[in-house]
């Protein structure tokens, strides 16, 4: 029987597709995790800290009303961390006026003007206002006198 000239190419393509599909399947999370909906869109693709922050913002959305100004800060304070927090807050708190505590790793001090404060990390030693929410990832505060 004569072998077609494209047979090696055919089997390479087919074998390649099989290898890549098997590799893709082996990279999936364990079966139990595939069978229920993830709690955040980051569950298996980001560091645990990012997942916790996502949850903090989702829970904060329930207590920070639409139209209010809000700022997110880190404890301890870090301009780099607060730059990324501002981006997450802008994404996950639509309808609120999100003030950046830091931009491009530079502090802006705009958080002083916010009605609500989201603190990622441990509860601050001095209370920035009335505590509205506390989770393992952080806390949400309404600033005093606002």
């Amino acid at each position: 029987m004569r072998i077609r000239p494209d047979t090696p190419q055919l089997f390479l393509l087919l074998g390649g597709a099989a290898i890549l599909t098997v590799l893709a399947i082996t990279r999936l999370p364990p079966l139990p995790d595939l069978l229920h909906a993830p709690s955040t869109p980051f569950d298996h693709s980001a560091p645990p800290a990012a997942v916790r922050q996502y949850r903090l913002f989702v829970e904060a959305a329930a207590v920070v009303p639409a139209g209010a100004s809000v700022s997110a800060i880190c404890a301890p304070r870090s301009p780099a961390c607060e730059t990324s927090l501002h981006r997450e807050a802008f994404a996950l708190l639509p309808g609120r006026k999100v003030l950046a505590a830091a931009v491009w790793d530079t502090p802006t001090h705009s958080e002083d003007q916010a009605d609500f404060l989201i603190v990622a990390g441990p509860k601050p030693a001095t209370s920035p206002g009335n505590l509205l929410l506390e989770t393992p990832a952080g806390s949400v505060w309404r600033r005093s006198g606002r």
């Binding site: 000239p5 494209d6 090696p8 190419q9 055919l10 390479l12 393509l13 087919l14 390649g16 597709a17 099989a18 290898i19 890549l20 599909t21 590799l23 893709a24 399947i25 990279r27 999936l28 999370p29 995790d33 595939l34 909906a37 993830p38 955040t40 869109p41 980051f42 569950d43 298996h44 693709s45 980001a46 990012a50 990324s84 501002h86 981006r87 997450e88 802008f90 994404a91 996950l92 639509p94 309808g95 950046a100 931009v103």
Partner: protein, 448 residues
């Protein structure tokens, strides 16, 4: 959950919008399934184009009129396809699929399902979805237009103000339909784009090679993208859309369908999708069109062919740039450094970094396998030069871009796998371009 379902289901408007064009007789050469996948891709381009035109004209977005206009536009485009007899020939191979074809279909389906499992379990989510694509789309949906107040604010420079609009437009469309941005649903655009590609690609590759070879090449491309989708965490960002448009556009251009008015129009619309999905779609489209016109100049009329290939992209990108200019937001794409400020002394480091980070996802197998298939292919046709030279051009372009950074290592780490990923499809398509094979048109219908 309900909003997520509405969000993802609203994207079914894409094939609805594109179908009036793909239902035309000129495209009956492709199977129904293939045309469905192509209609999804074309519908996405038309929907996004109307959204950009509405934004330019200052008209608020409303989902139903947008879909109606996109579908009407698709219908009107039928008049640019020329005689539908030209491509009406049925595929020659009517035998039932054999073992190889069935294996290819099974692998393709498994790859799409694996991508669905990866995205659905939040294992492939792109961080850029939350920092760039999603927030922009959410703001646009809220404003029911391209939100200039956000784009103008220096605080939001990180959103890449001038970035082409297709993905954010379609996400904004889905968010308007669902009532809010659904982050989890947005990650499912990875398997959705792969599914559209899996539907369309085997049929589009069919004129290039015997059916079994066309289907296994399609299976390789889909499985490679599925694997990379999880490895590189691209669910929700622009890559899956770029894969869809670039792979299909290249497959159409490399095949005989591109010698007809209908094929050129289809390729033009797919190129427009690539141009508006990500910035690297523009050099891809320019290289592909120039090579196509140069290599096929004796078989086509250059002027009409160039018009059909370029006009859709020119309209889509032109509307976006006109929007930016009229709102004094941007006058072109943002730069990644001064053009001639090239750090040649870093060439070795950049190449080493690229090799290192392409090796990471599966020992570079997604690129090595199609390259090996190309090297093994017998009697390569001159047309293989289109995908090969486009792949080389893009690779040079990416290296050139990286050479503008004082230290590109981190940049290469998070972007090289993604930007080099479409090249694997070009290599696989090139491996199918051979002399006197496939399901080609009769000579008397090739000229347009």
């Amino acid at each position: 959950m309900r909003a997520g379902l509405a969000w993802i289901l609203s994207l079914a408007c894409c094939p609805l919008a594109g179908w009036p064009l793909l239902a035309h007789g000129s495209y009956r050469r492709f199977s129904l399934v293939c045309r469905l996948g192509l209609a999804a891709a074309v519908g996405g381009v038309l929907l996004s184009a109307w959204m950009t035109l509405f934004a330019l004209a200052g008209i608020a977005w409303r989902p139903i009129p947008l879909v109606a206009l996109a579908a009407a536009g698709a219908f009107l485009l039928r008049f640019l396809t020329g005689s539908h007899e030209a491509l009406r020939r049925e595929p020659a191979e009517r035998a039932a699929p054999g073992l190889i074809e069935n294996l290819a279909l099974t692998l393709t389906a498994a790859a799409v399902l694996a991508a669905f499992a990866a995205a659905g379990s939040a294992a492939a989510t792109s961080p850029d979805l939350f920092t760039i694509w999603g927030p922009k789309a959410q703001a646009f949906a809220g404003a029911r237009t391209v939100d200039t107040s956000v784009l103008r604010d220096p605080l939001f420079n990180y959103l890449h103000v001038s970035y082409p609009p297709l993905v954010t437009n379609l996400y904004a469309f889905a968010s308007m339909a669902a009532g809010r941005m659904a982050w989890g649903a947005a990650t499912l655009t990875l398997p959705l784009c792969l599914a559209a590609l899996a539907l369309a690609l085997p049929g589009v590759l069919r004129p290039l090679a015997p059916r079994r070879l066309a289907w296994v090449a399609s299976a390789l491309i889909v499985s490679a993208f599925g694997f990379l989708g999880n490895e590189l965490d691209v669910a929700g960002n622009g890559e899956p859309w770029l894969w869809l448009y670039e792979a299909l556009a290249m497959a159409v251009l490399a095949g005989e369908a591109s010698l007809t008015a209908a094929g050129q129009l289809l390729a033009g619309l797919l190129l427009a999708g690539a141009i508006c999905a990500k910035v690297e779609g523009l050099p891809f489209a320019l290289a592909a069109v120039v090579l196509f016109l140069a290599l096929r100049r004796k078989e086509i009329r250059i002027g009409p062919a160039a018009t059909r290939l370029i006009l859709p992209g020119a309209v889509c990108l032109g509307a976006w740039l006109a929007f930016g200019a009229t709102r004094r937001l941007f006058y072109g794409y943002e730069q990644y450094g001064r053009f001639f400020d090239i750090r040649w002394e870093r060439l070795g480091l950049v190449l080493a970094d690229i090799a290192r980070f392409l090796w990471r996802p599966g020992w570079a197998l997604p690129w090595i396998l199609p390259l090996a298939a190309l090297l093994l292919a017998p009697s390569k046709a001159r047309l293989a030069l289109i995908p090969i030279v486009v792949a080389v051009t893009l690779a040079v372009f990416f290296v050139f871009t990286y050479l503008h950074s004082t230290d590109a290592s981190l940049w290469i780490e998070w972007s090289a796998g993604r930007v080099f990923s479409p090249l694997l499809a070009f290599l696989a398509i090139a491996s199918l371009c051979r002399e006197g094979d496939g399901d080609q048109l009769e000579p008397n219908v090739t000229a347009c």
